[in-house]
């Protein structure tokens, strides 16, 4: 019996192949975008986990000397006093044009690192003697290994899948040679097992500072907001995809009512039918989900390199550009597909199960369901209010997203009522009979189209909102770059001594030399980079201060005050007039806050004299050089020749700006790609809705046709209707999008990145989006319109015939 019933149910899809295709595509699109985002996120998280495991970040405390490297003797002092610490020497290692992170750990004392365990458990386990003694071995990811092999002069390379793509791991004994830092230690990791009594750190090594994991840069935490962003997009796409599923399933159920009634009349219980339909839907969801996974894998693979670039540019987090297929990801994708499909079919299934056995087919063509519309709108208002309330009362990033979600879904729920109102207004003012009919007919179509239009509204609002945010950001960022990068050349010396030489050599040749000295300190909100600056008009004229006390520069330059960046200001709620403790006992008043985009960490600036007091050992390797711009190129070449500096050690302002802008653009490639995809899905939702409405269209159109409108006229009207509805939706999406971008700029950005951006509007972008929307609506309506144009009159006539 089950088999017979299933056969009957499935026969529907054989007869409605396009519908089946639509349903599967809907499920696939929903699952695809969602799982693409999931794949990207989990790939990134896996990379962080790898990196954190390698660096022991987030787990163990560290000892560092803010003024420079730690000598081996200090390490031995600590060890012989009982302190269980492990030495790490690390630094950038130049590979042609690119720089990788070389990390040397004491492989004897360090806790088992994943990469080392992996190497040891491999078939060709390295001999510890080879690892620890010259020439040693180096471990690198399979991405990096070939590049290293080209290098030639390196120790033998072992490939490891447990390493981030831009990290070289080796024994500290090998690292000191490769980095040419014999006897230096960058930091000491405090191991978890300490003996019962150890003397205080200040008694053994007073110059060392202990950093707890909470004050270290935690990639996971930093990038959390970025991934939340992506996830929000993923969910949005998922929701939009479900609109398609909802529409298609609703239609299929409506069309199968007769069949189901017949089967019930023949003695099949409703319960059995519901179970079988659920099984059928689950089966379809699994197929659609599998297609979606394939799609998602493809999309994620295409987007991942850009995401990786973004994360590197924005947070310095390293993410592998290669996708790997994770079983739990696939399982989650299929589960989402099934859950989503069942969710989207719930209403239709419920209605079906409540259907009395003897109701007529009743495809209701005109349903002025004003109370339902008003109820939906009310729900929308409640959602908006709820989101706003959540944000106002709780605050924070999550509440920010709740606000966004409330605004978006609320506005979407308000859409049917708004559109219906607008259409009623038009209908009242319409003069000709055709116009009157067209408006009335549009209103009649609204219930069937409103889900698709909601999807369109969401996609458009997201586009406008995110677009406005990105463009505002870009505008602000470019202006900021101009303020911030004022020197014509930026020079990096090999070491302090060369820095000194370069400085002396440059002195008579240029307008000014601005040393860029920095030292890493700790603050309760995270790492704090302290910069020393010399008194130069360029700072007073150009430095991008957001807010400042009077006489800010005089106070800073005389060593009485400190400037901090916006991130630190917002995170620690520090503003001019407050004080900042830079080192124990060393407190300065904050005189100003400056904007500092694209940097995740806190920053502060003091006069050079102050820096010398706080961190006497800070290296002097980097300089900004001010000079007439036209001489800069020649000077750069001269510098490189004179001091045998590699190209990248002398950088032009223009090159630096270009690079910064390139990073910026890369950052938002993913966002805009997802934007376009969402819009595409919304367009597809309109198409499926129109196709769904198709069978209900004939009774609407046939009488009009019979009364003397030809099919080409009707087809044109069909196109116009779709475009008009899309246009109206777009008009309503604009204010929503602007609200969205305002929330993004003033709420989400502040929470996620630590900076607040001014909002700029870009009407030309809106126009472009508007045209794109109309185009999408036109394309979506093209297929039904074409069908109408080619429709044999016999089909229209059949509407009137009794055989129907």
């Amino acid at each position: 019996m089950t088999r017979t019933v299933l056969q009957a149910l499935l026969s529907h899809w054989r007869a409605h192949r396009l519908q089946l295709g639509t349903l599967l595509i809907g499920i696939a699109l929903a699952t695809g975008l969602w799982s693409a985002v999931q794949a990207i996120n989990s790939e990134a998280r896996a990379s962080y986990a790898r990196a954190n495991a390698q660096l022991a970040l987030g787990q163990l405390d560290e000892l560092r000397d803010p003024t420079g490297p730690i000598p081996i003797a200090r390490y031995v002092d600590l060890r012989r006093a009982g302190w269980q610490v492990a030495a790490v020497l690390e630094g950038p290692y130049r590979l042609g044009t690119r720089s990788v992170h070389l990390m040397g750990v004491d492989m004897v004392a360090y806790p088992a690192l994943p990469a080392i365990v992996e190497a040891e458990q491999s078939a060709a386990a390295p001999d510890p003697a080879d690892m620890l003694t010259a020439p040693g071995r180096i471990l690198a990811s399979s991405e990096l290994a070939p590049l290293l092999r080209e290098q030639g002069d390196l120790p033998p390379i072992l490939e490891s899948s447990a390493l981030p793509p831009d990290v070289i791991l080796t024994d500290i004994g090998v690292a000191e040679t490769l980095l040419d830092q014999q006897g230096d230690i960058s930091r000491l990791v405090v191991l978890s097992d300490q003996p019962r009594l150890v003397p205080a750190l200040s008694d053994i090594a007073p110059e060392l500072q202990r950093f707890s994991p909470s004050s270290q840069v935690d990639t996971d935490q930093l990038t959390g907001s970025f991934h939340l962003n992506l996830s929000a997009f993923g969910m949005l796409s998922f929701a939009v995809g479900l609109f398609i599923v909802h529409g298609t399933v609703g239609l299929a159920f409506a069309q199968r009512r007769g069949m189901i009634r017949t089967m019930r009349a023949l003695g099949v219980s409703m319960r059995r039918l519901v179970v079988l339909i659920l099984a059928e839907l689950t089966f379809l969801a699994v197929i659609g989900g599998a297609l979606g996974l394939a799609l998602g894998f493809f999309i994620a693979g295409a987007l991942l390199p850009d995401v990786a670039a973004t994360l590197r540019g924005l947070y310095g987090a390293s993410v592998s550009g290669q996708m790997s297929l994770r079983p739990e990801w696939a399982a989650a994708g299929i589960a989402m597909a099934v859950a989503g499909t069942l969710l989207a079919s719930g209403q239709a299934l419920w209605r079906l199960s409540q259907m009395p056995i003897l109701t007529g087919p009743g495809v209701r063509a005109w349903q002025d369901n004003a109370p339902a519309r008003r109820l939906t709108a009310l729900a929308g208002l409640i959602l908006i209010a709820g989101g706003t309330l959540a944000y106002l009362s709780v605050g924070g990033l999550i509440a920010g997203f709740v606000l966004l979600a409330g605004l978006l879904t609320g506005a979407a729920l308000l859409l049917p009522l708004s559109l219906s109102g607008v259409l009623a207004l038009f209908a009242r003012r319409a003069q000709g009979p055709v116009a009157q009919w067209v408006w009335a007919d549009m209103r009649a179509q609204l219930p069937g189209l409103s889900l698709a239009l909601m999807a369109l509204l969401l996609a458009l609002a997201a586009n406008i909102g995110v677009g406005t945010m990105v463009s505002s950001f870009r505008l602000t960022f470019v202006g900021w770059l101009d303020q911030r990068l004022t020197s014509e050349l930026y020079v990096t010396a090999v070491d302090d001594q060369q820095g000194q030489e370069i400085s002396e050599w440059l002195q008579p040749r240029v307008d000014a030399i601005l040393p860029l000295r920095t030292v890493e300190l700790a603050h309760e909100t995270g790492p704090l980079f302290l910069y020393g600056i010399v008194d130069d008009p360029v700072y007073r004229l150009h430095w991008p201060l957001i807010t400042s006390a009077t006489g800010v520069w005089d106070d800073v330059m005389t060593g009485h005050a400190v400037l901090i960046n916006e991130q630190l200001g917002r995170r620690a709620d520090l503003w001019p007039g407050d004080t900042l403790e830079l080192r124990p006992g060393h407190v300065l008043t904050i005189a100003g806050v400056y904007s500092d985009y694209g940097n995740p960490t806190g920053q502060a600036m003091v006069s050079m004299a102050q820096l010398d007091q706080i961190a006497p050992g800070a290296e002097t390797r980097r300089f900004g050089v001010r000079m007439p711009p036209e001489d800069a190129t020649e000077m750069a070449q001269e510098l490189r020749r004179q001091f045998d500096l590699p190209r990248q050690s002398v950088v032009h302002q223009a090159a630096m700006k270009a690079q910064s802008r390139a990073i910026f653009e890369k950052t938002f490639v993913v966002t805009s790609a997802l934007n376009v995809l969402t819009l595409g899905v919304a367009g597809f939702a309109i198409l499926t809705s129109l196709l769904t409405l198709w069978t209900q269209r004939l009774p609407q159109i046939a009488p009009v046709w019979a009364l003397g409108l030809d099919r080409s006229q009707l087809a044109r009207l069909e196109l116009m209707r779709s475009v008009t509805l899309a246009a109206l939706t777009a008009c309503l999406a604009l204010p929503l999008g602007l609200v969205l971008s305002w929330v993004l700029l003033t709420v989400i950005n502040v929470q996620a990145f630590g900076w607040r951006l001014p909002m700029y509007v870009f009407p030309l972008d809106w126009l472009y989006l508007f045209v794109l929307t109309l185009l999408a609506a036109l394309i979506a309506a093209a297929l039904p319109a074409m069908r109408l144009l080619r429709l044999p009159p016999a089909d229209l006539l059949r509407v009137f015939a009794s055989e129907r």
């Binding site: 390490y75 014999q182 003996p195």
Partner: protein, 346 residues
């Protein structure tokens, strides 16, 4: 004699699990390492210090102690040296790896800790004169080998002891040339079996004044095991009448290989050849997921010894990177006394 400790030292210098495979290879060539020579003339104090040209070496002290309340305790302090290559250099690239094991066994429980270091930087090492052997803050040192202070600590225990030798050094086997298998694998092996020990144990329940006697083994070699040998049982027993016995059994596929040294109360010693001592497990305990014999019958008919040796606590398991059983024992039967037992390969 701690034969298995040779392996432990090698295996533990890195968390190298795959190294277990390299174990069979130890029986083979010595890769440029020196090999113990029959008839070697010890030279002191120099030989109290390290021998970097040999693959493995240790300073291995165990002590049976009694607290003021009359209860028995045991401590272990071991420094292993393992060479990846037969030389020493300054800096991180030193091929000498050092490992420390320390333990306190109370009548109720067993505490232990482990340390790892490499040579070349001063974090661990040994010197002959003045004598010192150390890793991190663990240290055994003194003006000479007869007068030592000893310290070690772990997360929840520690000890500070002073040691005073009561007799001469004892050389095992053939004047310190100790054969380990019928194939002729051997080590240089001598002991100071009679230290008077005094000091304090630091335990979670508080400090505890203790006294007793200690036994220090010095051994170095480069090729200690025969290929078929899988583990051993090693006994150092001090009888109440002043006589002492060091005896071990190497368990091998081709049969056990035993060896022993009888140390008279006056300090004179006599090596006892393979087969002169017999070992019979009487009772096992389930420790760390395996069955370990914690009561033994040891007989040495030549000396009229027929004793039962039983562990103070069965749970004296060293769950270090390479695991073994090491703990104090009490002796009853023809002779009464105390001692230490080490068992590996279970």
């Amino acid at each position: 004699m701690n034969v298995r400790a040779l392996l432990i030292a090698i295996m533990c210098m890195l968390p190298v699990s795959s190294w277990a495979q390299g174990y069979a290879g130890l029986g083979g060539s010595a890769d440029g390492f020196e090999i113990p020579q029959r008839g070697y003339q010890f030279e002191f104090p120099k030989d109290h210090g390290p021998h970097p040209a040999f693959r493995i070496e240790w300073w291995y002290l165990t002590a049976n102690l009694t607290a003021d309340d009359g209860r028995d305790y045991g401590i272990q302090w071991t420094l292993f040296r393992s060479a990846l290559k037969p030389f020493e250099t300054e800096g991180w690239q030193s091929p000498q790896i050092w490992m420390g094991h320390a333990a306190v066994t109370t009548p109720e429980t067993h505490y232990f800790a482990e340390r790892l270091s490499r040579g070349g930087i001063g974090q661990a090492g040994a010197t002959a004169e003045p004598f010192a052997a150390w890793i991190d803050e663990w240290q055994m040192s003194g003006p000479d080998f007869d007068t030592l202070t000893l310290t070690a600590s772990g997360k929840d225990f520690g000890y500070d002891l002073s040691l005073k030798a009561q007799g001469p050094l004892v050389f095992h086997g053939e004047n310190g040339y100790s054969v380990k298998s019928s194939d002729g694998q051997a080590s240089h092996y001598y002991s100071q079996p009679s230290y008077n020990v005094e000091g304090v144990l630091h335990l979670p329940e508080g400090d505890m004044a203790v006294s007793g006697n200690g036994w220090l083994d010095r051994e170095w070699s480069s090729q200690p095991l025969a290929e078929d040998q899988s583990g051993w049982d090693w006994f150092s027993l001090s009888f109440d009448d002043g006589d002492k016995l060091m005896a071990f059994r190497l368990r091998g596929d081709r049969g056990d290989f035993t060896s022993a040294t009888w140390i008279s109360a006056d300090g004179s010693s006599m090596a006892l050849s393979d087969g002169s001592t017999s070992f019979t497990p009487l009772e096992t305990a389930h420790v760390a997921g395996r069955d370990v014999p914690v009561a033994w019958r040891v007989t040495l008919p030549d000396r009229g010894v027929d004793v039962e040796v039983s562990a103070l606590v069965p749970d004296a398991w060293m769950a270090t990177r390479f695991e073994y059983w090491e703990g104090p024992v009490t002796v009853t039967g023809t002779h009464e006394g105390r001692g230490y037992l080490e068992m590996t390969g279970y």
